[in-house]
């Protein structure tokens, strides 16, 4: 059985059909890519799966759990970690606090623990901190743990987001343009991190990307989305040579 299974997902913004009849199956440990021109609905697909928007029709299953109708925090707790295209970091928190915060749903000490500082709270907070350090080490920013995120360079901020997404202990990781705005050097580092994360946790990864280089190198299978519809699906090679994809990206003349 697939890890993530989406069938006939459709979504309208008012009268505008943003996503139509979208199907997806991701197996455990698989890296999938979603490409498409600007405004094709890629981020909408992410937001539909992660619960920020509710699909008008269709079903979404993670393992044997139905995700439609759940709140984003419930979906995240079910094992879906994500990063954001435009870096949604918490501007008054330091790096370590970010990764600890992602473990919110694992804090079972409750309000009594929060109000009175029980032993259980101390233990769980210490565990969360230790785990956070581990994740920061994995993405290579453990020395920045106590820096405020706003003081970090862009590449490091992206890594914070990655570590934070891993903090929710995901079964599947959603990366929304993980290399947007990065220079070639940072791009290579980020690819290395994605590979490492994949190897370390055996995670399934679903990523949106504009840079075909990254998608072609990392992904086992790619979907191309245009105007909310999947026009092509296949291995990187198949996608690269698919006339429809070339048409969508470069226009008809490029084919001729």
């Amino acid at each position: 059985m697939s890890l993530l299974q989406i069938e006939k997902m459709t979504h309208y913004f008012g009268g505008l059909r943003a996503v139509h009849n979208y199907n997806l199956r991701i197996e455990p440990g698989q890296i999938r890519g979603l490409i498409g021109p600007n405004g094709a609905g890629k981020t909408t697909v992410f937001n539909l799966i992660t619960g920020i928007h509710q699909p008008t029709e269709g079903s979404i299953q993670l393992g044997d759990e139905n995700l439609v109708g759940l709140h984003p925090h419930q979906i995240a707790s079910a094992g879906l970690g994500r990063t954001f295209q435009n870096l949604l970091l918490w501007r008054h928190m330091n790096v370590l606090e970010h990764v600890i915060m992602a473990q919110y749903s694992k804090m079972t000490y409750g309000l009594a623990g929060a109000f009175f500082g029980t032993a259980k709270r101390k233990r769980q907070e210490a565990e969360a901190e230790e785990k956070a350090y581990g994740l920061l080490k994995l993405v290579g920013i453990s020395d920045l743990a106590h820096e405020n995120v706003l003081n970090l360079p862009y590449g490091a901020q992206r890594r914070v987001e990655m570590a934070r997404a891993l903090g929710v202990e995901p079964k599947i990781l959603f990366l929304d343009e993980p290399t947007a705005g990065m220079n070639p050097e940072e791009l290579i580092q980020m690819m290395e991190i994605i590979r490492q994360v994949h190897k370390e946790f055996g995670l399934a990864i679903f990523l949106i990307e504009h840079r075909l280089k990254l998608v072609m190198e990392l992904c086992q299978e790619i979907q191309t989305l245009v105007f909310g519809e999947v026009i092509a699906e296949g291995t990187p090679e198949e996608i690269q040579n698919n006339p429809k994809v070339i048409d969508a990206y470069l226009g008809k003349e490029a084919i001729d």
Binding site: L88, M93, M101, Q103, Y104, F115
Partner: protein, 435 residues
């Protein structure tokens, strides 16, 4: 000329850093010792000294009132403050620093809660002796402590959660009236509620129940503001919370059984200094615990980026409800204490004036900081009292000060600073440059 000038300034700077270094190695325990000696000194020689200096009586609030009323007495008042407070505190703190450091170290090694307890006992002793001089001091001190509770709790919503809530006086009113009805109806022979149902000697023991009840009613009221906060933020929520405050006020004005606009009186005198002090300490402790936990930091996550908080498993709705109810609870408790300190409560107390006061304390002290709220509440309460002789001009002086703070420190005096009790009471390192 230039050389001597710069030399002069370097020696001045050197002296300044020297003094700063000298005082930065004094642990809080040393200051407490100094203050304790000062208040005891005042108790013994205060009256004779005041008479000798030609003052009508012991200056109640560090001489501010006297100085503003009778400018002729400024030198002798300042001398009094210097002799009774500044010099003894400075000298004792300086002289006892080695002993105080050793004591602080021994205490903290022995046990952290024990050390905190000892510090609090000394602090309470200072308050007790200081307030023992006059009823005016006692009242001011109680109101200041209550202001701390209200300010710290409002900071949970306005600072930590980042919503602009105007409903705090409403929560205070709910708490004040609930606790008042509890104590007046059960323990007092009153024209409105009839005979006492429970012998009044039990009252002081059951008083906490009344306060907690008041807090719970306020927390329930907070749901009315918390639920709209799921869907709206910022200005719109501010308007809703303002409306809530006025609703509560007019509700109470129209409830005849609690006296309507005339108010409710004859609350028994249970809110003595130890009670108010203990409640304030508990309030600060619990709130500080909360905001330092991951559950509490979730408020910051929601304030800074709600979408991300939600995607990182934070249950945003629950967190908001908890924040509002929790803050309202403490406002309610503070309101209950307020009513019993005053022995009288009416709806007009909890209106826009109160709101302005509390908001000023929060924003003056600093957002997202328990420490800042304490500083803000204490400084504005004392300033409000100290500038009382200015009458109308007080309401020009204090807002001006606020404007100045907002220009130079837009988030308040001590914003975004963690209130770390352990750091506060630990012994200071010899170097004076301890990180």
């Amino acid at each position: 000329m230039e050389v001597t000038g710069s030399e002069l300034s370097t020696t001045a700077i050197g002296l300044k850093t020297k003094i700063r270094d000298m005082f930065s190695m004094l642990p809080i325990m040393g200051w407490l010792f100094g203050a304790l000696i000062a208040v005891i000194l005042e108790q013994i020689v205060g009256t004779p000294l005041a008479i000798a200096l030609g003052l009508p009586k012991i200056p109640a609030l560090f001489g501010f009132l006297i100085m503003l009323k009778k400018p002729m007495l400024v030198p002798s008042t300042m001398l009094y403050v210097l002799l009774i407070f500044i010099l003894p505190i400075g000298i004792v703190a300086r002289l006892s620093f080695a002993a105080a450091n050793r004591l602080a170290e021994r205490l903290i090694n022995f046990s952290m809660p024990g050390s905190v307890f000892v510090h609090l006992v000394v602090l309470y002793a200072i308050f007790h002796i200081w307030a023992g001089i006059s009823d005016y001091r006692l009242l001011t001190l109680k109101f200041t402590l209550i202001a701390i509770m209200v300010t710290v709790s409002l900071n949970v919503i306005n600072g930590y959660l980042g919503e602009f809530s105007c409903s705090h006086p409403g929560f205070m009113a709910l708490g004040a009236y609930t606790a008042s009805v509890f104590s007046v109806s059960l323990f007092v022979n009153d024209s409105m509620f009839g005979h006492a149902l429970i012998p009044s000697f039990l009252g002081p023991f059951l008083f906490p129940i009344g306060l907690i009840l008041g807090g719970c009613v306020a927390a329930l009221g907070a749901l009315i503001v918390a639920i709209p906060s799921f869907r709206t933020r910022g200005d719109y929520l501010a308007i809703i919370s303002l409306a809530f405050m006025f609703i509560i006020k007019s509700l109470i004005e129209n409830l005849e059984f609690v006296g309507g606009p005339r108010g409710l009186s004859s609350q028994p005198d249970w809110a003595n200094l130890p009670t108010v002090f203990v409640w304030t300490v508990v309030c600060i402790w619990v709130i500080n615990n909360f905001v330092r936990s991951t559950l509490g930091k979730a408020l910051n996550a929601i304030r800074d980026e709600e979408t991300a908080a939600n995607a990182m498993t934070v249950n945003t709705k629950r967190t908001k409800v908890v924040a509002f109810m929790f803050a309202a609870f403490w406002a309610g408790v503070a309101g209950g204490l307020f009513a019993h300190v005053l022995g009288y409560v009416n709806p007009a107390t909890f209106s826009i004036q109160k709101l302005a006061e509390v908001l000023a304390m929060v924003y003056f002290g600093g957002l997202n900081s328990v420490y800042g709220s304490i500083v803000g509440a204490v400084s504005l309460s004392l300033l409000g009292e100290a500038l009382r002789p200015l009458e109308l001009f007080k309401w020009i002086a204090i807002p001006l000060l606020l404007i100045l703070v907002m220009i130079y420190r837009p988030t308040g005096l001590i914003a975004f600073k963690e209130f770390n009790v352990k750091k506060l009471i630990q012994p200071k390192k010899k170097k004076g440059k301890e990180v």
